[in-house]
């Protein structure tokens, strides 16, 4: 039986009724039309569906929408982060784009608590997100570049 749920999605409170078995990723894509979050394996392996839940990366296929009730979700559409996006573009850190939303969310999660990550930190942070083109080297470069620019921005801003 559908139950009421209110979730803050990209800063906007969304109230709806939802079957408990609907995952957060299906709710975001099918109900809210936020198709930036990709859905891949639906069993918590590929990481394409990663979103920020109260600011930290989680897999939205391993979370029923009802479990996100009264919590805050940020999807790739809500990632207001030009420095990070530009870094991905400049280093050619995307090929088919399947993993990109998950990679951006993983990168945001990392840079929020580790502003000066080592290459190992970056690799660890994206280890739960599979790039099916295997373009990991450019993704690691992009996150390192974004980290450098965000630190400069912090100093000058």
């Amino acid at each position: 039986m559908p139950v009421p749920v209110t979730i803050s999605v990209n800063g906007r409170a969304v109230s709806d009724t939802v079957e408990p078995r609907v995952t957060l990723v299906d709710f975001l894509r099918d109900r809210l039309g936020l198709t930036g979050t990709h859905v891949g394996c639906e069993q918590g392996v590929c990481g394409a569906c990663s979103v920020l839940l109260d600011g930290v990366p989680v897999r939205s296929c391993l979370l029923f929408a009802v479990q996100a009730g009264n919590r805050s979700v940020t999807t790739v559409e809500g990632l207001d982060d030009a420095i990070l996006l530009d870094a991905f573009e400049e280093t050619h850190a995307m090929q088919c784009g399947y993993c990109t939303p998950g990679m951006l969310i993983a990168a945001r999660g990392l840079l929020s608590d580790t502003p000066d990550p080592s290459e190992d930190d970056i690799r660890e942070a994206i280890s739960g997100t599979l790039c099916r083109c295997t373009g990991y080297v450019q993704i690691v470069e992009a996150i390192a570049l974004a980290a450098t620019r965000l630190r400069q921005d912090e100093r000058h801003g």
Binding site: P20, R21, F64, A106
Partner: protein, 294 residues
């Protein structure tokens, strides 16, 4: 890959959650992080009629001192445990296990108690807690009970919890005083963060002469429940745990293993590799005990 329909309840208190578990009716499962249960539901390996969500219950979360050791609330999120200075200082073996558990995204949701109650043979949290001789506290409307973790974890994905009981706390014994402690977890997996084919946990305590006075050794992924290598522990206590002694003693774990063939590795691979993996975990732990600043 979609879960079957179920009813979802978010109780306001532990008492309410226990009432729900005690009610007759649909198969009721506790959910907290859901990082093992949700994929099982998606694959229809689990099909509960009702989920009771305990994630918001403060009484079940947090890490503190108590009962002569460290008490970890069952719904404590793994990422929170990973950042806990108390856990790092007082339960170094569990702290060493946490970075091996899944990935950042799953550790941000998964809980300590959820992993213990799921009872996967290769789970690192279960491995470390068994090695530490942890106890668990269960609760039900009939009252609490406490038992050794080795009596709770009765088989692969099987625990001694009754249908109306839930895991509420994991109790870790205090680390021994006056010794230099080192702890390490080593594992074999296809890629970092994947399910472990084999995992080994080792904690060593050295006195000021470098003699081993405390040992906790266990191997996961090669038996239905991780095994504690008690014979190896006894063999090394009172020695300096040098390389030859470690290599010889860790072979004593072999007869305890009941390995199997699966898509990740053969039984014979597991049997051959497990003692060496345990030896490596112990060597890393001993290095950390000898140079604690690292």
């Amino acid at each position: 890959m979609k879960a079957a329909p179920f009813e979802y309840v978010r109780p306001a208190s532990l008492a309410d959650a226990l009432e729900l578990l005690a009610e007759p009716g649909p198969e009721t499962r506790i959910i907290a992080g859901g990082q093992s249960l949700v994929p099982m539901m998606a694959m229809r390996l689990a099909r509960p009629g009702r989920l009771v969500d305990i994630a918001g219950l403060d009484a079940l979360a947090g890490i503190g001192r108590g009962d002569g050791g460290i008490v970890v609330g069952a719904a404590t999120v793994q990422a929170e445990a990973e950042r806990s200075p108390l856990l790092a200082a007082e339960a170094p073996l569990l702290a060493a296990a946490l970075p091996h558990v899944g990935h950042v995204q799953t550790r941000n949701r998964g809980t300590i108690g959820g992993s213990v109650a799921h009872c996967d043979p290769a789970a690192e949290i279960l491995l470390a807690a068994l090695a530490m001789r942890a106890e668990v506290e269960l609760a039900s409307v009939r009252g609490p009970r406490r038992l050794a973790l080795r009596d709770f974890a009765v088989g692969a994905m099987m625990t001694a919890a009754e249908d109306d009981e839930m895991l509420v706390r994991v109790l870790l014994p205090a680390r021994p005083a006056g010794l230099a402690i080192g702890a390490a977890v080593r594992e074999v997996s296809a890629r970092a963060g994947d399910f472990a084919v084999l995992a080994a946990a080792a904690e060593i305590g050295l006195d000021e002469d470098g003699v081993c006075r405390h040992l906790r050794l266990a191997v996961g992924g090669a038996s239905p429940v991780p095994v504690t290598a008690e014979a190896a522990e006894r063999a090394l206590l009172g020695t300096r745990a040098d390389t030859d002694a470690v290599r010889e003693a860790t072979r004593l774990v072999a007869p305890l293993l009941e390995p199997w063939d699966d898509q990740r590795a053969s039984a014979s691979y597991r049997r051959r590799v497990a003692p060496g993996l345990l030896a490596r975990a112990l060597e890393t732990a001993a290095e950390r005990a000898r140079s604690p600043e690292e």
